[in-house]
Symmetry: C2
Subunit: 209 residues, 2 copies
DNA sequence: ATCTTAAGCTGACGATCGTTCTCTAAAGAC
DNA sequence: GTCTTTAGAGAACGATCGTCAGCTTAAGAT
């Protein structure tokens, strides 16, 4: 019983790479992306450390691959699910509600991975922080564009402070994340949805000036 | 050049302990409380690893001491600065504005340490998470009590959803923290203050139902 | 002046970190 | 068929992790 099973084939190799990233997403959401360990990852996957790192070359490259995968999943899930809705308030509301559902998750996965990693790297310069900033900037642009659409369509007052509203919507998402993960508040999703609707619904009497 | 300088005296020892915690607060706000390292801490302080850990016994005990110190500073700074204000909206507004100023910080220290650590440990059970949960619960009770006072005094509508408002106020603080540390948005403090006032000022037309 | 206490250094410990060799055997090209 | 490529295992590397056993030396008590 000397060698184990050096299977490969280019298609199985890609599957292994996906398995590694998948597991890294799970482990990283508990101990953070920096708390990720090649050894722990290898043990969990029943692989050797070399087998794991061989797919990426470097731990930082693996971390970047994990971030990229998380960004792509977020995009497919959140703006992707809102694609069918009418531009403006309807689409934006659906996107945020989908985000909240995504954070609510199931019994084996809760919270938004990107939101956690964003806080983890907010003071750590480097390519990982850069990747997160790029993703966040794209999301912010998305929200801003939909809000502008809503203002143009008369769904929001013409004097709406769009950047301010973007800022506050982001705060709601952060509050939902903290309520789900830290305080484990079962009303987190409901509170989040209520806050979103209060900010976006046209009954919003913004000031009346 | 054999021994260096084994100074002590009970008063100097306490000062050293304070120096260690002080430095740990700085290092921990960059690499996280878990990314803290006895060796790095010792090098930065010009001490030996044993000299550092000797004051606490364990890394986890040191981390707990750092959290306790951060909690005490937050309390002295934020609710402490609002003590002179009239209970209700005035006191709560001053507390949140002070929190925002605290997060804005100066050129050598930005962001709220406790907020960062809260996100870091939101999925890591243990005494550190427990300490953070206790502190957060106390803060939440403080906000809730002031809001109830405001409702009783007629500063807020009698049908105000106090837990919902507490939730949204917390979201504003999280958004300010992210805007300051991650996106380095210079308008973060202004946006935060505006959001706080919109939620708390009596011109708030809550819905009219 | 003597004794006890304790702050802090030196040095080492086992463990684990990320990385890099070497080696294997199967997959795909020819 | 042979030949090249490569996924992955195995084992070791230097570095660093947290911790602890001694030692030194000054402070505080008697």
């Amino acid at each position: 019983m000397s060698g184990m099973s050096p299977r490969k084939s280019v298609v199985e190799a890609a599957a292994t790479r996906t398995r590694i990233i998948e597991r890294a997403l799970t482990l990283g959401s508990v101990d953070g992306l920096e708390g990720l360990t090649i050894g722990h990852l290898a043990t969990d996957l029943g692989m050797s450390k070399a087998g794991v790192i061989g797919h990426f070359g470097t731990k930082e490259a693996l971390q970047l691959a994990v971030v990229d995968e998380a960004v792509e999943r977020f995009r497919l899930r959140v703006p992707g699910h809102a694609l069918g809705a009418r531009p403006g308030i309807e689409r934006l509301t659906r996107a945020f509600e989908e985000w909240i559902d995504y954070m609510t998750g199931d019994e084996e996965h809760r919270g938004c991975f990107l939101t956690s990693v964003a806080m983890e790297y907010d003071e750590r310069p480097g390519p990982i922080r850069d990747a997160i900033l790029t993703a966040l900037s794209r999301w912010s642009d998305y929200v801003t564009a939909e809000l502008n659409e809503a203002v143009k369509a008369g769904e929001l007052p013409h004097n709406t402070d769009v950047p301010q509203l973007t800022f506050e919507l982001g705060g709601i998402a952060l509050a939902v994340q903290q309520a789900i993960l830290l305080t484990r508040d079962p009303t987190a999703a409901t509170r989040g949805r209520q806050a979103i609707h209060r900010l976006l619904d046209h009954t919003n009497t913004h000031g009346g000036d």
